[in-house]
Symmetry: C2
Subunit: 268 residues, 2 copies
């Protein structure tokens, strides 16, 4: 396993700037987000990454299956698959979506997610792209992701061939789960992505920005990382931080700190 | 099942004021907190409640087993048991505690909790008091409660006689859990307390105060309540809200609103 910079960690950077920052820091892989990719266009973005000799560890993100406009959602998810294929990554991370507006039907929302994955899985597999279902911390269950545990994501993934649907393990989302180590072991080759950031307190007012650099919080990365490695995962480890101070800092400073934190807290 | 006012919902009220507010609203049971009980003294507090003809649905709260001073923690928890017995309630709700300061050893903290429960269980049972292990929303895992799911609480409780250790089901803490309905069914007569409040968004800056009145958020109380009833629970339903606006409002207004919300969203 080796370090990948998820470009969200330097959120203000264009794709070109993020690619350059990786290259300067000797980081060999990058996790790309769709919005900055769209800013330069898929073809040009793919060339940028390729010319720099970087692997794309994942494309973030598709999903949002509980959206009101299902047809638009399906189309957008297919575009996300196409973009992943164009970038040469085999992993599309999916944030599945929260409760539909005004709804309290959590079981229904979870059913919608299963339907959405079923509609997309074969399309993805045919494009050589695997959907990585990302269980999200229950803090986001209502508004962002009704997949709340790794077990739950694995149960959903199990209905599909392993080359079509896997899971994304993100330390922030799963660290608290009393079953997480067993779930990681069970996940085996379903693990399509491994992302790290820390759980920090106090939570910032915007809880979306509560994801700190490894070492700033409460998560034991060695134990989780060893479990992921023991499960057979040999892909990249994306450092993906959402934090106002990190986003405000100069890109090269952040990337250097990411490298330090990765070595100190995460690397096997 | 019938309505109980957890006195935290009118946080500024003294025990006497909370008891009076219940009596005026025709509420027959109250969930008592230790701090306002200490303000009047246990004996006088017990008399206040008894004279008003109220049941005490639970005493909140003991626990915090991961505290640095284990001897002081043990003594305090035994006092909490004694206070519950003096109040005539058979239920002491336990918030088990978060990670010890500076620690990332979640498994170790969970082990400490199991030891703490083991030390207290027989003392409680001998006093006619049952410990109600409260699984807490994972948002509080680091700093407040390392019991994160109902399944986990039930696994811990299973090591003890049912009259010594049960669980507290609080909608806020468990609503997101994909296994919660099965866990409630499995809990059966381990359910020692049922508390309701809603998950609201956006989360307030102090996430401790993110617990809204039923109907203000995303939780489907009918489904959870039916599961609790089907599991055989026949105790009181505590409305326990932590919210700055609710805490700032006049007590009688809040209690009247609690009664309305209970009827509209919670009552079977």
């Amino acid at each position: 396993m080796s370090l990948s910079l998820n470009q969200k960690t330097i959120n203000r950077a264009s794709l070109a700037e993020a690619v350059d920052a990786c290259a300067r820091a000797g980081i060999e892989a990058i996790g790309v987000w769709r919005e900055p990719l769209a800013d330069v266009g898929v073809e040009r973005g793919a060339k940028l990454v390729r010319d720099a000799g970087l692997r794309v560890s994942s494309l973030c993100r598709g999903g949002f299956f509980t959206a009101a406009d299902r047809a638009a959602n399906r189309d957008d998810n297919r575009r996300a698959v196409d973009e992943a294929a164009a970038l040469g990554t085999d992993t599309l991370v999916l944030v599945v979506g929260g409760l539909p507006t005004g709804s309290r039907d959590l079981a229904g929302a979870r059913g919608r997610v299963a339907e959405g994955v079923a509609e997309l899985a074969m399309y993805a597999g045919d494009a050589g792209v695997r959907l990585a279902l990302e269980p999200m911390h229950p803090i986001y269950c209502a508004d962002r992701g009704v997949l709340s545990t790794l077990d739950q994501a694995l149960e959903l993934a199990a209905a599909f061939p392993v080359e079509q649907v896997g899971v994304a393990v993100d330390t922030f989302h799963v660290w608290w789960d009393p079953r997480v180590l067993a779930a990681i072991a069970r996940a085996g080759d379903r693990i399509a992505a491994y992302q790290v950031c820390d759980w920090i307190l106090p939570l910032p007012p915007d809880t979306l920005l509560a994801r700190g650099l490894p070492g700033d919080g409460y998560i034991d990365f060695r134990t989780l990382g060893a479990a992921v490695s023991d499960a057979g995962y040999r892909g990249d480890v994306e450092v993906e931080v959402f934090h106002a101070d990190v986003w405000a800092a100069p890109f090269d400073d952040v990337v250097a700190e990411v490298v330090r934190r990765y070595r100190e807290h995460v690397a096997p």
